[in-house]
Symmetry: C2
Subunit: 204 residues, 2 copies
């Protein structure tokens, strides 16, 4: 087995490994190299010929609105246990981004919504993710925390717990939401989040 191409933090990646040691199709150890018809290193199986591509994942969620309020959930799971978030989670096979966003809103906040337009598509290359948020209108206030939430609560803009938000894609989406609401029209926003820890310049 060749050396893996990079080290991964087991706390971040366990129990969902991103670093592949064995072929998932036939169980043979994989080797990392650039295939003949490709231009980057892949996990290859020399036994069955499988090429194991890895690609960024989509996280889908909503900005659930009730009048002047926005619904947030306090996370009951890692990462960022105890911090507030918009309802969102990994997109599943067989669903659309909109269906996934609505499902996560139901699962995390027990909330029924009328789905609106795409609002943000945020690139997070350092996390190998793209986060997609849709606008949504709560149909009632019969929401309740699901198994992955400690609390669900409506917030006015002035009361948003900015310092206790779980993820930068959430704070970015909320900032853009309140900005657009003041303007009276909602656009589609596609920011990129830079890595939190900037690279140290050579020689410094």
């Amino acid at each position: 087995m060749t050396a893996p191409p990079r080290a991964l933090d087991p706390l971040t990646y366990f129990p969902a490994p991103r670093l592949q040691h064995f072929c998932s199709q036939c169980g043979t150890p994989v080797t990392y190299r650039v295939p003949a018809d490709d231009n980057r290193e892949r996990a290859l199986c020399d036994h069955c010929g499988a090429v194991h591509y890895q690609n960024p994942r989509l996280v889908v969620g909503t900005v659930p609105v009730w009048g002047e309020h926005v619904l947030l959930c306090r996370r009951a799971i890692e990462p960022r246990h105890g911090y507030w978030t918009l309802p969102a989670g990994f997109m599943e096979l067989g669903e659309t981004t909109l269906q996934g966003a609505e499902r996560e809103t139901q699962e995390e906040a027990g909330a029924r919504v009328e789905m609106g337009n795409l609002f943000t598509m945020i690139d997070v290359p350092s996390a190998e993710q793209v986060h997609v948020f849709y606008l949504a209108r709560l149909l009632d206030t019969d929401f309740a925390p699901g198994p992955e939430s400690l609390e669900t609560q409506l917030f006015l803009e002035a009361d948003i717990p900015w310092e206790e938000l779980a993820f930068r894609t959430v704070s970015t989406t909320l900032e853009l939401f309140f900005e657009d609401r003041r303007k009276g029209s909602f656009g589609v926003h596609t920011p990129t989040l830079a890595p939190l820890r900037a690279a140290v310049p050579a020689g410094s």
Copy 2:
């Protein structure tokens, strides 16, 4: 090893298997079941505890414009060898959707572009994909087919080979592009492509 949850077409999935038989972390056969804290079946490793999630993949590309023309590539690879496409491909780890779209435009068409706004985000749940296209302006006409293209050619709307387009996300994006161009303003469009073969109603 338990039975896989569904049959996959090896022609579609080889050499990039989506159906997992072995743990990619430790090489033990996986079992498919719903984890205690989850609500859908996953590939689980009872030896090392890994949970192997599978999620939809992003395909990223551009609508490269030169005056009244749009640049298309004729595919030199399967699927849809010989058919025309907008430059697009699977998003890679560590890049943004915009960077991936620009990279694919360079790789497939040898084209240098000034990237524009997000134009379409198309859900293709039957393919477990989301296709994202950005508007782009060609900087010159020094394009040339890359290793995955047979030809690269500029087309006026009237000359688009609609019957020889590779994918529905390409025809949908081109239709929306010409529609918006006639209107004189480009929006962001988020259609969903329904499966081509509709389910046969019970009893029919």
